[in-house]
């Protein structure tokens, strides 16, 4: 379980996150939603330890975050990974990055590591591209490579920051189906997303964030009013009876 306690975060005197108290239970498919500038990516970066905590704390599996991060890593898929398309790496090299932290200095990957990486790539539907140069991959293929890298960490938590960015609509659907499979296999998934339509089919736990938390609950308990409060005037809701 991941707990955020009294979290506050400011940048240049502007409050980005305020009074965040949140518990994400194990095994959920959680989605963090909110308008642009709501603090979603900041919350993820604080969780990953990519930015320093200012006030409040994060507890993971009952252990303070800094201590937890010394012994564990998250399976993380960033919003847009900056990389040089001509960088001399194959898709398999990038996937292997997920387990590079488990090897000491001076130790190279062996056949066993490489086989495991390719197996995970097959699970993510990208196995046949293992030897391809990263510059030759499409946006959707690259997202699957990054998902395979996150899976290879063997972390029970998968954190995704707008994974649908740069993928076409059919690609997004199959990507979320894949995430659902990993969720059913026991992974706790926390994703930032704007795609409410897709999320409504897959996520089980919704976190509505707009600087403050507007809700965090089982997805079916979230109603239009909460969504309206989170997004303000930036969305127009059309409610339908099913």
């Amino acid at each position: 379980m991941i707990s955020f306690k009294d979290l506050q975060y400011q940048i240049a005197n502007k409050t980005i996150l305020e009074d965040i108290n949140l518990e994400i239970p194990d095994g959920v498919f959680a989605a963090i939603i909110g308008p642009n500038g709501a603090g979603k990516s900041t919350l993820i970066k604080l969780l990953l330890g990519l930015i320093e905590m200012q006030e409040g704390s994060v507890i993971i599996d009952g252990i303070p975050q800094k201590k937890w991060l010394k012994a564990n890593s998250f399976g993380y898929l960033p919003q847009r990974e900056e990389f040089d398309r001509s960088f001399p790496a194959t898709a398999r090299d990038i996937v292997l990055m997920g387990m590079a932290g488990t090897l000491p200095w001076g130790r190279r990957f062996n056949k066993e590591h490489e086989t495991k990486a390719v197996e995970v790539m097959h699970m993510c539907g990208i196995g046949e591209k293992a030897g391809a140069q990263i510059g030759s991959l499409s946006g959707g293929e690259y997202q699957r490579v990054l998902l395979a890298r996150a899976i290879l960490t063997d972390s029970k938590y998968l954190i995704l920051d707008e994974p649908e960015a740069g993928i076409d609509r059919p690609g997004v659907t199959s990507f979320f189906k894949l995430l659902k499979k990993f969720n059913e296999a026991g992974k706790t998934i926390i994703t930032v997303s704007h795609d409410l339509h897709t999320l409504s089919k897959y996520c089980t736990f919704l976190i509505c964030l707009n600087r403050r938390l507007h809700c965090h609950n089982n997805a079916e308990l979230i109603n239009a009013e909460v969504i309206r409060n989170t997004f303000g005037d930036s969305v127009r809701l059309i409610e339908k009876e099913y």
């Binding site: 990389f83 990038i94 990055m97 590079a100 001076g106």
Partner: protein, 262 residues
């Protein structure tokens, strides 16, 4: 062949190799401006070493290492644009160097040989130092291959996946500083950066594997050093500049080869 010429030839080759080993990483990490800046900052280091009576090369290396680590720390800590930080340090160091050298009027300082390099002036101890530096470079690149690969790919993601790159990064800057300072005598402040980039960009035109790129980069440096030395000796041209021209020619050939292959 006179002994001083043999020393100079060995010096040119060792100098080329040491810069060529680091060149692929400097290119992939897009920090060629750092090489440019550190070579200029070394000028202030030499001046400081001169004033304080230290060995010029060792003193300059100490100074450049501190500044290189400082730039890296400042830009990570305060998210300052590295290019801006470096330009400030570069200009300040050159100004400081000029002032310090002007204060030490009783000292004869061959500014031209530091600016443009003169491999003919290389001493036996400097050759040994270059040899040792090459051993350190090779050991570093072999031992930390995995960490350097991912550090060059994406430092932030390396941190997320707990790849131990922090110390590797610090050693990188210390060795980069050493490679620049120890090669000033042979390559010169102005031209050392060219030798820190050209062999790598040539190699990446020919291969898309990092270990092959390092190997090709070294081969390019050796061929350029030998050819440049021979041409400069035959036509009485400055050696450092001729070596850089040879590297540029090889780069052009590799570029044509790459275009022809598509």
């Amino acid at each position: 062949m006179p002994l001083f010429l043999i020393s100079a030839l060995v010096g040119a080759v060792l100098s080329g190799i040491s810069l060529a080993i680091f060149a692929p990483y400097v290119t992939l990490r897009r920090i060629s401006y750092m090489g440019e800046a550190l070579s200029h900052i070394a000028f202030a280091g030499i001046a400081l070493a001169m004033i304080s009576g230290l060995n010029l090369t060792f003193g300059a290396w100490m100074f450049v290492s501190i500044v290189a680590l400082g730039i890296s720390w400042l830009s990570q800590k305060y998210k300052i644009q590295e290019a801006n930080t470096i330009t400030i340090f570069l200009s300040l160091s050159m100004a400081l160097g000029i002032i310090l050298i002007s204060l030490k009027q009783d000292y004869t300082f061959d500014l031209a040989s530091y600016l443009f390099g003169n491999v003919l002036l290389i001493s036996a101890s400097e050759l040994w130092a270059l040899g040792l530096l090459n051993v350190l470079n090779i050991a570093y690149v072999l031992f930390f291959y995995k960490e350097l690969f991912y550090l060059s790919y994406n430092p932030e993601m390396s941190k997320v996946f707990r790849i131990r790159t922090q110390a590797v990064d610090k050693i990188f800057y210390l060795l980069l500083a050493a490679n620049i300072v120890f090669n000033l005598k042979s390559a010169g402040i102005i031209l050392v950066t060219a030798q820190l980039i050209l062999p790598a960009v040539t190699a990446f035109n020919l291969t898309c594997k990092l270990y092959k790129a390092i190997f090709i980069s070294v081969i390019v440096a050796i061929i350029s050093a030998l050819a440049g030395f021979a041409v400069s000796f035959a036509l009485n041209l400055p050696t450092g500049a001729t070596i850089v021209v040879c590297q540029a020619l090889l780069y052009t050939l590799s570029f044509i080869f790459k275009k022809g292959r598509r």
